[in-house]
């Protein structure tokens, strides 16, 4: 096969591989269900990253496989050397500049997504989160309860409203992570950390401690209940009336925490 012909074969094979890769990137279920507006932004951004990565990986693998196919030592070539090519300045400038531009564009795009995800909305509710070995607890401020602050081991949030979590730790570092929202931040002793999300899908989703916090770390999992606005206020009312004493799972049958 002539060099021209084999290069064409390699080029076509690479294009096919890129196409297959892109199709697969749509077929594969990468993430858990999306339950916040932030999750949609992050997933879309991840997809861009994957689609940019596929051609780069295919390029590297194609060059390796092509070299193995065309340039491997054949019988009789045991003592032969290749041509003494020391470099090519134009090519080197090219493969310095193009990746730089690509990487800076991606990181720029990531800042846009980050800004969108972290933007403070006109209206939001605040929930305090407390991590301690090995459970989460929460506190709803008077602005929500219209009375005394409500302490609870359960996490209910209304659908469609931005929530800001103010995260505290009572002992060591934990990480407050809701995979369905695609967001986490550490709970750090001595400081308060924050993140916000706008839940947009009713359901129960895992809350996971994502930073090694000791013996019970693996089991430091619970749930967040995203409910409708009315049910949220009904839950708050039921909790404040019972003074937050019992776990207060009466409203929902799925309220098993941990």
């Amino acid at each position: 096969m002539s060099r021209q012909r084999s290069l064409t074969v390699a080029f076509v094979a690479a294009l096919v591989a890129v196409a297959i890769g892109i199709v697969l990137s749509y077929v594969i279920k990468w993430f858990p269900v999306q339950a916040s507006t932030q999750a949609k932004n992050t997933d879309a951004f991840y997809h861009v990253l994957v689609i940019c990565s596929i051609p780069i990986f295919v390029l590297v693998v194609t060059v390796i496989l092509y070299s193995v196919w065309q340039f491997r030592m054949r019988p009789g070539q045991e003592l032969m050397d290749g041509p003494p090519i020391h470099g090519n300045t134009r090519l080197e400038v090219f493969w310095t500049a193009i990746p730089s531009v690509l990487l800076l564009s991606l990181v720029g795009y990531s800042f846009v997504v980050l800004h969108k995800n972290e933007q403070k909305p006109a209206k939001e509710i605040e929930v305090a989160v407390y991590g301690q070995q090995f459970a989460w607890s929460y506190e709803y401020p008077p602005s929500i309860t219209h009375g005394a602050p409500l302490k609870s081991t359960q996490l209910y949030v209304p659908e469609g409203e931005s929530v800001r979590f103010d995260i505290h730790s009572r002992d060591v570092i934990h990480a407050f992570w809701i995979p369905a929202f695609r967001i986490q931040e550490d709970a750090v002793p001595g400081i308060t950390t924050h993140w916000r999300a706008t839940p947009d899908r009713i359901g129960d989703y895992p809350v996971v401690c994502n930073l090694l916090c000791g013996l019970g770390h693996s089991l430091m999992r619970s749930q967040i209940h995203v409910v409708s606005e009315e049910r949220f206020h009904a839950w708050i009312a039921s909790q404040t009336s019972s003074a937050g004493s019992s776990a207060g799972g009466a409203l929902t049958s799925t309220a098993g925490s941990q």
Binding site: V63, V68, F71, P83, I85, N88, E185, L212, S218
Partner: protein, 633 residues
């Protein structure tokens, strides 16, 4: 017997270890008594004695073993032993078990010691995968599991990857630059013997009350402040391993700067030498930071300094900044020497000069510089000030550029070469594919919104294994096969080598690729049990990992049998141009019978009549010619 007890060696080391323990007991007793710690019962405190003896017993071992003899004789004004080169060379296996100042012996000590810890670390990984094969399994309890992954990572980072590169470098670098040995042979010997100390200490932590250190190799405070005494084993073992790294790095720097053969300018150095030069710069600048982070924890634990006690004004995040200021450059410490190995292997086995030699060298230096500006990308979700994320994300994306330059240059080196696809070349090509994947997932992790989801998940576990196993370990295997004939004087079995490559490559990908998905789906790292939805992939990963572990047996069998009875190796089986291939296999005790003169680049394959080094005296100027020329027969 008395002479034996006085001479450096294991007997005297035993005595000094007992003395170390006595010293620790005495010191804690006197300190506790003088600070008024109540009754006699409190003067003798097991944990305090243990903590101090973790420092004093290993130091006693090193004194007794002879690591400091020369300097003590000198300091005491006694006659130092005349340098009769008795410390050079190894004539039986026993010579590997004493202070030996020959860089080739030390190189083998380093490499073999590191591989022993690779096997132990790998076995620990098998235990972890056995636990994770199904959710809620009770193969080990949570505390043991946390100890397993902490010791796994610590051993493989501090006792395998970092020292095995130092070992290969120790053997090869003086040969490559035409030097008879390293600049500081006694320091070299001492730096090796610190390693078994550190490794045994980490393993011994399993015997400590409360179990092994169980806070991960990152040992985040304040969890590590309040952990059982096993944590102290980690804090102190890291000091020994770190001191060893720093000593070796200084040794490499001085050796490379001052001991190059005549004619070997910096830009005639093989890229492996460049890579170790760059790595050593990273080591000497960064390693003191992890030493500091662990001293902080030690002082918090032992003496209640409250560096990381938020209730007493401590700053929890400072630990992470100091820790990652070492531990990010450390990933380059664990990668750059591998880049050097790959450059050697690809140039020689493609029979072509390295494409863009100068850019290859400059990109190493660029990584050294940039490597110090990215540490906080490990902390995007740590609660540090938000703005810090922005510059760190930019530098993290940019550091992929010099790495990309290297990958593209290797690909261009393959182009139109004559590829010898033997075992070391297969590992080099395997490295290029798996490391590219690790690099891509690394760039993804630089993207803050994405990192906020996957930080500390199995996606990160997949990434680090693609970089450290698919990256570093592949290069280590390539290097071991490549220099095996030079180090042992024997050839390995090529067929078994290829089997080793293919089993490793296939099962590596089957083990670690699915972990990306687990992380995206929401599985945290460092858990001994997990939600049942992850059980299918975890079982698959566990099975693949056992096969991956078994593939190592092929390697061990090949290396052991070939070392004992493989065919005798020629001095230059790969027809390499660099200097180590111009001497016998294994090399003579002082490397070169005649000092080589370097007259050209190290990779001039395909250039008619090109040579890198010559051993005859350089053609003398006409005026002095008569005097220098050997008498004609």
């Amino acid at each position: 017997m008395a002479a034996r007890l006085k001479a450096p060696g294991f007997y005297r080391a035993g005595i000094f270890m007992v003395l170390g323990l006595a010293l620790a007991t005495f010191l804690t007793w006197i300190v506790r008594m003088s600070t008024g710690h109540g009754t006699f019962h409190h003067y003798i405190d097991g944990e305090a004695i243990l903590t101090v003896s973790l420092l004093s017993v290993p130091l006693g071992f090193l004194f007794g073993f002879g690591g400091f003899d020369y300097w003590f004789y000198w300091a005491a004004g006694k006659p130092t032993r005349p340098e009769d080169h008795s410390g050079h060379g190894a004539y039986s296996w026993k010579d590997y078990f004493r202070i030996n100042t020959d860089h080739k012996v030390i190189g083998i000590q380093y490499t073999v010691n590191s591989f022993i810890f690779l096997l132990i670390g790998g076995l620990i990984a098998m235990l972890m995968r056995a636990q994770l094969a199904s959710p809620g399994s009770h193969f080990v309890d949570a505390n043991t599991y946390n100890g397993l992954f902490s010791v796994h990572a610590s051993l493989l980072i501090f006792l395998f990857i970092i020292p095995v590169f130092a070992g290969l470098g120790n053997f090869v670098i003086p040969l490559m630059i035409g030097a008879p040995d390293m600049a500081f042979p006694r320091l070299n010997a001492l730096s090796f013997w610190l390693l078994p100390v550190a490794g045994i200490m980490m393993l011994a932590s399993f015997l400590a009350p409360g179990g092994a250190f169980a806070d991960g190799w990152t040992a985040y405070a304040p969890l590590s402040d309040s952990a059982p005494v096993g944590q102290t084993f980690f804090s102190i073992a890291v000091q020994f391993a770190g001191a060893s790294s720093i000593m070796t790095a200084l040794n490499f720097l001085v050796t490379i700067i001052t001991m190059r053969a005549p004619g070997m300018s910096f830009f005639r150095m093989p890229l492996l030498v460049w890579a170790n030069f760059a790595t050593s710069l990273l080591v000497v600048i960064a390693t003191p930071f992890i030493a500091a982070s662990q001293f902080f924890v030690l002082l918090d634990r032992g003496l209640h300094f409250n560096f990381f006690n938020a209730g007493k004004g401590g700053d929890v995040l400072m630990y992470q900044h100091v820790f990652w200021f070492y531990s990010h450059p450390a990933v380059y410490i664990m990668m750059l020497p591998g880049f050097g190995i790959i450059s050697e292997v690809i140039a020689v086995k493609s029979r072509k000069p390295i494409f863009g030699y100068r850019m290859m060298a400059f990109s190493l230096l660029a990584i050294v510089g940039l490597g110090f500006t990215v540490w906080a990308h490990h902390m995007f979700t740590s609660g540090m000030a938000n703005w810090i994320r922005i510059p760190m994300a930019i530098t993290t994306a940019i550091i992929a550029v010099p790495t990309g330059i290297k990958i593209f240059s290797w690909l261009a080196t393959l182009w139109r070469g004559v590829l010898h696809l033997d075992t070391s070349m297969l590992f080099a090509l395997g490295f290029l594919t798996t490391f590219t994947l690790g690099g891509i997932s690394g760039v993804m992790l630089a993207m803050i919104p994405f990192d906020i989801h996957v930080s500390a998940t199995y996606f990160v576990v997949a990434h680090i294994h693609y970089v450290l196993f698919g990256g570093s370990l592949m290069t280590i295997f390539a290097g071991v096969y490549y220099w095996f004939p030079k180090m042992t004087g024997r050839m390995y079995d090529e067929r078994l080598g290829k089997w080793h490559f293919w089993t490793t490559f296939v099962f590596f990908n089957l083990t670690f690729a699915p972990m990306h998905i687990l992380g995206l789906e929401g599985m945290p790292r460092r858990v001994s049990t997990y939600a049942s939805e992850f059980s299918g992939l975890n079982l698959f990963i566990s099975l693949a990992s056992f096969a991956l572990g078994a593939s190592t047996l092929v390697f061990i069998y090949n290396i052991v049998t070939s070392w004992r009875g493989g065919p005798v190796a020629a001095s230059n089986p790969w027809r390499g141009m660099t200097l180590e291939w111009q001497v016998s296999s294994p090399p003579p005790v002082f490397n070169f019978d005649r000092v080589p003169t370097v007259v050209g680049g190290p990779y001039e394959y395909g250039v008619p009549g090109a040579v890198h080094g010559i051993f005859a005296p350089a053609p003398a100027p006409a005026t002095a010619g008569g005097a220098l020329r050997a008498p004609s027969p």
